[in-house]
């Protein structure tokens, strides 16, 4: 069994210690820098794809995946501090739960997986008004805002972020990613609230942000 499959099996067993031991052993041989690109990213992508396609992973298992990712990022960060190295970042992005939404867990996991991919994540927390999302995006130069909502009623509040982006003349420049349980049940909701894209789960959000960032750059560059 290869390293990615071994990691996935340990995540399936909700075995955080086993995951870390496995990853540490691999990194001792191949180095921590390659751990993210060669092991963690592909394994998380596989879990995300399987979770979307067949629902065979649980929130608890994905939470373990997020904790293991945090553990690895923590170890790499301390090593970089010691060696004064700096990994090039992909750029700043903004995430948060829309006004009146207080379901933080999914958003926090999204933040973890985005950081692992090299994004500088500005997490605004729960119950965030549309103006605050767009203000922050403009302040930090983010091309993607990720807005989360769990319920149908709060999902409709995301429309206000779309309106705020458009009214400031930022259409296309700032891309709106939307997500949360309700978007899986009602896929038409993405268009209804003015989203530029969605992802079926936290693990595949980094891929969505890559695509939206490129789309933003492309729109700005023109035809």
């Amino acid at each position: 069994m290869d390293i990615q499959q071994s990691l996935i099996e340990r995540i399936r067993l909700a075995d955080r210690q086993g995951c870390n031991a496995l990853l540490d052993a691999w990194a001792t041989e191949h180095g921590y820098e390659r751990l993210i690109t060669d092991v963690l990213d592909p394994a998380m992508m596989l879990i995300g794809e399987e979770w979307s396609a067949s629902g065979t992973f649980t929130l608890a298992q994905v939470y373990i995946a997020a904790k293991v990712t945090e553990d690895v990022l923590g170890r790499i960060a301390s090593m970089r501090k010691l060696s004064s190295e700096c990994r090039p970042s992909k750029g700043p992005v903004v995430i948060g739960n829309i006004e009146e939404d207080f379901h933080a867990l999914g958003r926090r996991m999204v933040g973890t997986f985005l950081r692992a991919e090299g994004w500088i994540v500005h997490d605004l927390g729960n119950d965030v008004p549309a103006t605050v999302f767009v203000d922050k995006a403009q302040e930090v130069g983010a091309r993607v805002i990720g807005v989360s909502a769990m319920m149908m009623t709060t999902a409709h509040n995301i429309r206000s972020v779309r309106d705020e982006i458009d009214s400031r003349g930022l259409t296309g420049r700032i891309q709106l990613a939307v997500g949360g349980a309700v978007f899986c049940v009602c896929p038409d909701l993405v268009e209804e609230v003015g989203g530029d894209g969605t992802a079926p789960n936290a693990l595949v959000v980094p891929g969505l942000f890559d695509r939206l960032w490129e789309r933003s750059v492309g729109k700005e560059a023109g035809p």
């Binding site: 929130l59 608890a60 939470y63 207080f102 319920m151 709060t154 049940v185 009602c186």
Partner: protein, 341 residues
């Protein structure tokens, strides 16, 4: 038959004049009466008026007592927020970590006003409707209660990584829970519906259900003085349903609209009532004709099932659902006709 007779006959597997219907319309009562939600979810009389309006408008066979899990968290000290068109939610949990449970004293179900709200609402509804309509109280299973006190993330972390802390928390929650729920029965609840978050196949593994959730359920449900209906918590329930069979007090299961009801019947056996039909969120996006067609399809599929109730899965039917969509459920049940035992 009146609604109570229809539900009781369903529980007993006896013939019915028509299928019972049980859309979850707790929240919808506020829309019908125009009651602000901060009042609706704190004033038992305002809530009971909303349910009277629900009964008068839609004639469901089950009325729901307040579905407001966050208010249980508030009784422990969590800070609430009242959205304009949805049930209360938690702005800030009462505690942040398992260590803080040491000092936490569970609220007294006989004295805490936020808990008495539920009981008083049930009492008022029972006084007005009990002989005609069943009254369901909805409260999460005991293993989910810490989530409204410390937040889901902290609780998940505790369950996954701290068995001793988990035990310490549940030692406080379980006796509180038994007193609270038995108080609901004493006030007039016909049955108690329990969303099973920590048994859901979308949330936890089979190992967690087996080692953690089920033993707690077995212990707590044995102490309850009334029937319990297990609930899907808005996600497919079938993959873990076998882990929830044979528990004391359980009279029924509310399945998710994506679950295969025939398979569910095979898993739970002939004596358990199955509820199923429509999703509480998507019903707002459908036309009345689509709702009626979907209901008729479900009713046809369960034609031979004596113990089946047409209902909605997930939490409350959402606020913006057109009334004609809810009327369509009853119309489907009425036009479908009687059910032989």
């Amino acid at each position: 038959m009146n609604s109570t007779e229809r539900i009781m006959a369903t529980l007993a597997g006896k013939p019915l004049d028509r299928r019972a219907i049980a859309p979850v319309l707790g929240l919808y009562g506020a829309r019908l009466t125009g009651c602000p939600l901060d009042q609706y979810y704190t004033d038992p009389a305002a809530y009971a008026r909303g349910q009277s309006a629900v009964r008068e408008t839609f004639r469901p066979d089950v009325l729901c007592a307040p579905l407001a899990f966050a208010s249980i968290g508030a009784a422990f000290g969590s800070e609430l927020v009242f959205p304009h068109t949805d049930v209360p939610n938690i702005r800030r949990p009462a505690v942040q970590s398992v260590d803080e449970w040491d000092l936490l004293v569970p609220p007294d179900p006989d004295k805490d006003p936020r808990l008495l709200y539920f009981r008083d609402a049930i009492r008022l509804m029972a006084a007005e409707h009990k002989n005609q309509v069943s009254i369901a109280m909805v409260i999460p299973i005991p293993a989910d209660i810490p989530g409204v006190v410390m937040g889901l993330e902290s609780w998940l972390e505790t369950v996954l990584f701290d068995p001793a802390g988990t035990q310490q928390v549940m030692d406080k929650v379980n006796p509180f829970y038994v007193r609270l729920v038995n108080g609901f029965f004493a006030a007039g609840a016909t049955f108690v519906v329990m969303p099973c978050g920590f048994a859901s196949p979308t949330i936890v593994t089979r190992e967690i259900v087996t080692a953690f959730t089920r033993p707690i359920l077995a212990q707590v449900l044995a102490q309850l003085r009334g029937p319990v209906i297990l609930h899907n918590v808005g996600a497919p329930m079938l993959p873990h349903l076998d882990l929830l069979t044979g528990l004391p007090s359980v009279a029924g299961v509310i399945m998710d609209q994506r679950d295969d009801l025939a398979r569910a019947r095979r898993v739970v056996g002939p004596d358990i009532v199955l509820f199923g039909g429509l999703d509480c969120s998507t019903i707002s996006e459908m036309t009345a004709v689509e709702v009626e067609d979907r209901c008729r399809a479900v009713l046809e599929e369960r034609r031979q099932d004596a113990r089946f109730v047409l209902g909605t899965s997930g939490p409350d039917v959402v606020w913006n659902t057109p009334p004609e969509n809810i009327h369509a459920m009853l119309r489907a049940a009425e036009s479908f006709g009687s059910i032989d035992a």
